[in-house]
Amino acid sequence: MPDAAVSIRGVKKNFGSFVAIRELSFEIRDNEFFTLLGPSGCGKTTLLRLIAGFESTTDGEIFLYGEEIEKLPPDKRPINTVFQSYALFPHMTVAENIGFGLRMLGWNATDINNRVEQMITTVKLDEFSHRKPAQLSGGQQQRVALARAMAPQPRVLLLDEPLSALDLKLRQQMRAELKALQKETGITFIFVTHDQEEALTMSDRIAVMSAGELQQLGTATQIYEEPANRFVANFIGETNLIDATIHSVNGQQVVCELPGGFLLDARIDNSTAVNTGAQGAVSIRPERLSIVAPDTSQQPTNHQGDHSLLNATLIDTTYLGTDTIYSLKLTEDHNLSVRVQNNNALGSKAIGDTVTVCVEAAQFLAQ
């Protein structure tokens, strides 16, 4: 097996008495579009700075393609960074900015020119090569920062929220371009964002972080469909989190009891072992719920068959164009939100009606 691009082993980082990174261990594969996702202040930038070499670890090691890099200063690491604020050199032109790293590496002038031109074309800045950064728009500056970091063909590219300063339209366009660029160059991307949509659409794998700790590592589908804990379930997309107690266990399948006595089939992820009686919560995505016609033949609390039906009272509806959100009351303390596509098949429901909902997928979370 080839070495991981970056291997984080037991890394801790304190600033004085403040713990920025509690303890992190994971590997980033070669050629991977890897995303660090987490709320602001959870230590994403700190981890990037440790990898780039701007900060030194309090404890633990970082390996780059099998080599420990603790002793290497930033200018000796074959890693480049796209800074959150871009940090373009204000007194240099676009071309000079992009060529800076190559010049530092001692390339000759012809090679630098060729490479700079190539990069300028790649990021579509052909008419702007003689401008200073101050004369560019935010999106253009972002491209210069990207071209500057990619020009020396680093083995690993670090991107610290590179799209956060752009407006929505540009951001969506840049997502596709970044992803394509990564595929094309095969450079390992470590991409930092607090925007879950960005993470889900771009990444091969995502590390979800909170308060300096890794919460879950997996593909977009895994972290969305099978969140490891309440934090991930809540942070990624919308979800219904309902207190639950394990009723019976069958491998990865469990039956759990919800408030109001309902029984529900749910999965648990393979790393958690639970016993009957364990307390936790189920996470149900609003779009994995549907409102069905009340079926008199099927009891909602039926123990024998399919534990997927719940009865609840409609308390509010929100029309969203393509979808409608139904807010339901399961018990006094527990609400459910259901997202249904508008296709008129449902008929009209009035506030106060009792409706039957069918749960297509639920995940039991031990913590």
């Binding site: 780039a52 070499g53 000796k76 960074t81 800074f83 940090a87 590496l105 004369q135």
Partner: protein, 302 residues
Amino acid sequence: MASGTFTPVRKWLLLPTWVTIGFFLLLPILLVVVYSFLTKEFRGGVDWTFSLDAYDQFMFDRGLFGDEAPSIEWTYITIFFRSIVQALIATLFCLIIGFPTAYFIATRPASSRSIWVFLITVPYWVNLLIRTVSMKFLIRDNGPMNQGLMALGLIDTPIHLINTNIAVQLGLFYSYLPFMVLPIYASVERYNFALSEAAADLYASRWTILREVLIPSVKPGIIAGCILVFVPSLGAFLAPDLLGGAKTFMIGSLIEEQFKGTAGNWPFGAACAVILLTLVLMALTLYARAQSKERAQEQRAG
């Protein structure tokens, strides 16, 4: 450009400034220029007759009785040249010490920066004359510096500094260092240190970062500091008078002599001042031209 709405208000508010500048800056300069074209009185002062004698005396040597064929008078040109060199060296000296000092202060935690700035300015609460005299006292042959060094056994005979160029340099350096530190500090404080990190990330060594990223970014502060040290050093007379000797005679002292007591020559002193002022203004104008040309080029490139 700002909208015109507030312009009339602003004009009135600026009136005191204009009056002050006109009365205390432009009027004295005008007086000096006028005096330089008058005839000297024997016991100081001027006779209100137009004359080019002052400039003639500066430029030409016509012999003891003024009846020989004119040849270039080197005395004053030499003094000017020496002063410019002295001022340049003092500026360089201040820059070499001032830049790291400013960088040091600007990189302290925000809470302690003002304390460092305060410490830099503390000596300036004492009058310049007194500071220069105490410098003389410190560095004279049997002063505390030499006695200390001899007591420590580092030297056998006192280091003779008084009346040398080095003493004058020390005096100038000590007089004008904060004028270098403060503007550089102001620009380093505004410097975006992420630029240094970006450069290091792109394989630049510390030295290269300093040369190619930090210095160009704080250039306005460096230039302001150099001007603020160079200009007063050029016209300084306290340090050369008190710490230097005949060999270190500078423009400031030459001008001062012309206006002191009854031996002076006011039109000649005024002419020296005018020539000095012209040189300084020319240098600053050339610099401003170069700057605006650079900026224009940037704009055209855009």
